[in-house]
Subunit: 335 residues, 2 copies
Amino acid sequence: MSKRILISDIAKSLGVSVTTISFILNGKAKEKRISDALTNRVLEYVKKVGYKPNQLAQSLRTGQTKILGLLVEDISNLFFANIAKHIEESSYASGYHLLYCSMGNDTVKAKELIQLFYDRQVDGFIITPTEGLEDVVALLLKNNVPVVLFDRYIPQVETNYVVSDNFNGAFRATKHLLENKDNRRIGFVSLYSDQTQMRDRMDGYMKALDQYQRQAYIKKIQIDEQEDIAMAQIFEFIEDNKLDAVLFATNYLAITGLKVNKKYGKLPAMVAFDDHTLFKLHEPAISVVSQRIETIAEELVKVLLRQIRNPQADVKHIVVPCDLKIRDSSTAKIK
Amino acid sequence: MSKRILISDIAKSLGVSVTTISFILNGKAKEKRISDALTNRVLEYVKKVGYKPNQLAQSLRTGQTKILGLLVEDISNLFFANIAKHIEESSYASGYHLLYCSMGNDTVKAKELIQLFYDRQVDGFIITPTEGLEDVVALLLKNNVPVVLFDRYIPQVETNYVVSDNFNGAFRATKHLLENKDNRRIGFVSLYSDQTQMRDRMDGYMKALDQYQRQAYIKKIQIDEQEDIAMAQIFEFIEDNKLDAVLFATNYLAITGLKVNKKYGKLPAMVAFDDHTLFKLHEPAISVVSQRIETIAEELVKVLLRQIRNPQADVKHIVVPCDLKIRDSSTAKIK
DNA sequence: CATTTTTGCTAAAAGGTTTTAATAGTGGTC
DNA sequence: GACCACTATTAAAACCTTTTAGCAAAAATG
């Protein structure tokens, strides 16, 4: 760690030019016809003194930072936290580091951060596109910056994305609820949101209902709603429609649903989207449509690096299957 | 965003030298006696064309990257995820970005990452020092790299840290359990770990017991233990000692404890360390010693930036109080 | 043996800033 | 009018790499 040693120091010590050393260190010895003898001598010396090139100088010259920008909606959400962990692991394995940020629902901050990360010349972006980010993502693409979206995508912007098969996840969950003859009236609790994952989950729910020729009951909650208001709304929704079962579109909504249960002592059969420690332990345990977090993370890094290495590469759309985990909440009524 | 504009472009357009512009942009106009007229002309033009200095070149020259390295033990742990979120917000507010990583219990990876972040010339480090990191942290300090530790500290290394008042948290939690006359035998479930937060929590537990002149029952679990084995151990610990109440040293252990409850249908009164969504919803709701995550995050960034701005600054040790949140699990026996 | 090709290596430019040291001009002092 | 101090600005060095373009010597070619 001590005092930084420079490539020119090595050149001086070894009596060779800086260029030669640079070539050797960048694996161009053969190509540049540096003799094996010299190559080895340099390599050994470099190892001995523990020289490491200055990343900043390197990046300045090459334009590559070996840093990826990770922008997630909310890192304190277990789904994103887990994915972030695996993204970091995958990137690390490929020699990339992560400049990270949690955007919340602050579009202004999100745009600013994308701009700032762009200014820092990150080599690529991994983004959960929250609403209002369409144009800035489009701008990135126009500037040929490698981007991969996840959790949801932007239909009008043709770029890489990795998402779960939300449609089939919701479809199978709803069908599972429908298979129980007692569940006559099945509701769907979602968010006011145009995002694709929400739309797909709703479509999956609808298709299952259509197959069984049942009526749909859909309640959307404001994204930033106070929790107690959301609780009241969910309670009302269930009561008024005498619902037998509910599919919750996100784990956060499902947790709010459970709080309704705790407060009003009433909740129908249910399935939640995204797994959570809580769901396994809850009495009864909550059935879920779980996403393959590790796979998603790996694909994200893979797709992004592919694009970085080959800017001409064609756009990839990857859809990862969901897993329906059936627990007690959908087989026996809650309380 | 389009084509990058350089400081030299501006110089040419305005017919002034690059130096002058650099001085003005870095707020040294007065000091360097640049006339107000020119200063304004430059500032306006810069704004008009939207020039932004190339961060890499800037960093290369100044040695400052405006990037902090954040190394947490496990980002998929809600406690760390929440803290990471607030650290990011605080840093962002001060114009710093975060290079992030989740270390797990992989000491080799952790050391390598610290080295890599150091090579990238991050301006400072925020670290949860997992075991085996003592020497590398000491090395950072020897190299005058600003560092602040959190969650726990390294006693033999004199550096900044921000931790919760684990001792008093555990002390008050234990005392709270002791105040209930039914709780004769109170146990403590912790990890095999020399880390300070664990030691302090145990000491707090001990002191409360001493005050009441009660026997201590302490069970330590291996950090990487399989969950089912840990469950069996906890079950045995409670059964064999006929415990009336248990204080769990981490939220993860407490969750394992709850799983014991679910499986064996038996668990005494309890208090957990660190809050979790799960605990509020559990039936009965779990009492906790909760940490002031937002305060900790803010202090971390504050202390680190202080050190970065003034390398001579004296070392800060900040201890943030914990909050005892009494819920049902410690007032009525579970089940 | 004169010419071309290949081998093995290097000087210098480029990447885009900040900062040091210097310069030309102006006004004041004795 | 010689000297000094101050004002307003700038040329060039520095930060540390990578890469382009090129050179001298050795080997190959006819």
